[in-house]
């Protein structure tokens, strides 16, 4: 039947289709040219991957820098998807800070390449091998910010980079960094004290994924996770059962959920424990791979660590 459609009609349709396509093509090209705008003139433009790094850079840089974070609040770095605007944020940046240790996945290789052309710095670069957690196959745990001492090293890397790139304001950076580092020192003491106030037998932190390894090592609390380091790896039914038995045997009072990881996995463990007659409560929500919403207390690195340690101490005491 359809062969009866008249040939000129068919040809006409093609012409229309291709004209529309080519008009759209041309408008698309014209559109994408005007990408450079003039905003924040004179300030050092800094782009960071995670919000934790952006917060430190903003504190040390103060009024002389313009900081943009690629991964917003509540975004799991393992699941970050780049948008078109992110290209400009990276292209326009004078300095780019990233976490390193493969937290950014395949982007790490890109940063290594970019480092040949502009200032691209991994904030973890000054950490000695001994400060890093390593698994059997020689791969490092990237969640370094949970040990405040590591983050002090990261802040020093940021300070030194800023002073080097913008010598004119080096003194300001040094003073602001001094003040911020003092706050981090206080924070470190605060975390140690809070954890020390939990009875020793109860110092067990149970969460959905293994982000808190550095926290556990640094402050003497045992960390148990259901998932592996990556939020994308699967957990087995045996993991759930093992963790459940551990909770029951050791009479653990509370487990914790994380802002950037779904709650379902940890709820399965709680249900399992309830069936064996041991009640476990959810001790609260911890911020692990991302900061809280900006403008709130948890939207800063210091606020986030305080929130975490307060929540843990309150639930386990």
């Amino acid at each position: 039947m359809r062969h009866k459609v008249k040939a000129p009609f068919r040809r006409w349709m093609y012409v229309v289709l291709f004209l529309t396509a080519s008009v759209l093509v041309l408008s698309g090209c014209a559109d994408s040219k005007e990408t450079t705008g003039a905003e924040g003139e004179g300030k050092l433009k800094i782009t960071t991957t995670t919000g934790m790094i952006a917060d430190v850079a903003a504190n040390i840089g103060g009024a002389y820098v313009d900081v943009t974070g690629l991964m917003g609040s509540g975004v799991d770095p393992h699941l970050y998807k780049a948008t078109q605007g992110d290209i400009r944020k990276l292209d326009d940046a004078d300095i780019i800070f990233f976490n390193g240790l493969h937290l950014e996945g395949k982007m790490t290789e890109m940063f290594d390449k970019m480092a040949e052309k502009k200032t691209v710095v991994a904030v973890s670069e000054q950490l000695p091998e001994s400060a890093l957690r390593t698994d059997g196959s020689g791969v490092h745990d990237p969640h370094i910010w949970f040990n405040v001492r590591n983050w002090i090293s990261a802040a020093e890397v940021i300070r030194d980079t800023l002073m080097e790139q913008d010598p004119e304001h080096a003194d300001a950076y040094r003073t602001q960094a001094e003040a911020y580092l003092a706050e981090l020192e206080q924070l470190d003491t605060y975390v140690s004290e809070q954890i020390a106030s939990i009875p020793e037998a109860d110092r067990v932190l149970v969460t959905a994924h293994d982000a808190f390894g550095y926290f556990g090592d640094a402050y003497g609390i045992q960390v148990m996770g259901l998932q592996g380091i990556s939020t994308a790896s699967e957990y087995g039914s045996k993991d759930v059962a093992n963790l459940r038995d551990y909770l029951v045997d050791n009479k653990i009072k509370a487990v914790f959920v994380e802002s950037s990881v779904p709650k379902k996995s940890i709820e399965a463990v709680i249900e399992g424990a309830a069936k064996l007659g041991h009640e476990v409560k959810i001790g609260g929500e911890l911020f692990s791979d991302a900061l809280g919403p900006s403008g709130t207390e948890e939207g800063t690195y210091i606020g986030m660590v305080r929130h975490n340690v307060d929540t843990i101490a309150a639930a386990l005491k």
Binding site: R2, G28, K106, G138
Partner: protein, 292 residues
């Protein structure tokens, strides 16, 4: 320049995929791209277990081997009488599951998922440049995909008649003495090469989309294979450009926008196709009634 490289990379992916997509659609194997995107997992896991590194070249190597294993198994099962959709389904779920088991057995502490170590991001292609003897040769992805496209165009144009006959009427092809199995394996090999190298450069969604959507739209617009390939490529490239413009306006994921643009063009083809389209059929019916 950034925009140029991204559109060029997208167009190369679109061209590779839309050419092969036409043959896959005719053979009812359009979902093979999706299958390969999953079944390469054991490849990267084994590559990591052997090498202990997450370097992109090693990951690409592991993925390529598994890509070839996947299409080989699919073709083998299909030739032995398993239906083509079923053989795709069986092979990719089984291989993906092997990968999940391997990760859970050995590598629980390593961040080793496809998104993280294999799939590239089209937004980042222009920074991943290739340096040869000190000179900057432009994005690695453009070279890799350009080479892939060259191989595809060369083989498809050299053996166009054979590929065409095998896709439409394998029995006739066998009767006139064409080694049908060989050409099936050759096509599958090209698909595997195109998808794996594109995954490495631009990620999964763009590849899977470009393998199916432009070819399906072209299928609605013509009954001739040669023209279908030309239209398919044109739609693929148009989606790349349109999608990039949309991503710019919306500040959204570039690959996502490109595939959405392809879907919009598909809907246009579906409505406006001169032979199979809704509008054309309505018009034709009315014209017929008038002539009566």
């Amino acid at each position: 320049m950034t925009d140029f490289w991204i559109i060029l990379t997208g167009s190369l992916v679109a061209t590779c995929c839309s050419i092969l997509g036409c043959f896959l659609i005719l053979r009812r194997m359009a979902l093979i791209g999706d299958a390969i995107s999953h079944s390469v997992l054991p490849g990267i896991v084994i590559a990591f277990m052997v090498s202990g590194s997450r370097d992109s070249f090693i990951m690409l190597l592991g993925a390529s081997v598994l890509g070839l294993v996947t299409v080989f198994l699919i073709q083998l099962f299909q030739q032995s009488g398993v239906q083509s959709d079923a053989s795709i389904g069986v092979v990719f779920t089984a291989l993906f599951a092997v990968g999940v088991v391997l990760v859970s057995l050995n590598l629980r502490q390593v961040d080793l998922d496809l998104d993280c170590v294999l799939y590239g991001e089209i937004a980042h292609v222009h920074w991943n440049t290739w340096t040869l003897g000190g000179t900057d040769m432009g994005p690695k992805a453009v070279w890799l995909l350009g080479f892939t496209l060259l191989v595809i165009v060369t083989l498809v144009s050299l053996f166009y008649k054979q590929f065409k006959l095998c896709a439409f009427d394998p029995l006739l092809a066998a009767a006139v003495g064409i080694p049908v199995a060989l050409f099936h394996y050759l096509l599958m090999g090209l698909v595997s090469m195109a998808t794996v190298s594109s995954f490495e450069s631009v990620g999964a969604i763009l590849v899977v989309g470009m393998l199916i959507i432009p070819a399906s739209a072209a299928y609605l617009l013509t009954d001739r294979l040669g023209l279908m390939i030309v239209i398919s490529v044109a739609i693929g490239i148009a989606s790349t450009v349109l999608g990039y413009a949309a991503a710019y306006v919306l500040d959204a994921s570039i690959a996502g926008c490109m595939v959405c643009a392809a879907a919009v063009l598909f809907i246009l083809a579906f409505l406006l196709s001169p032979t199979h389209g809704l509008v054309a059929r309505k018009l034709w019916r009315r014209m017929n009634q008038q002539s009566l």
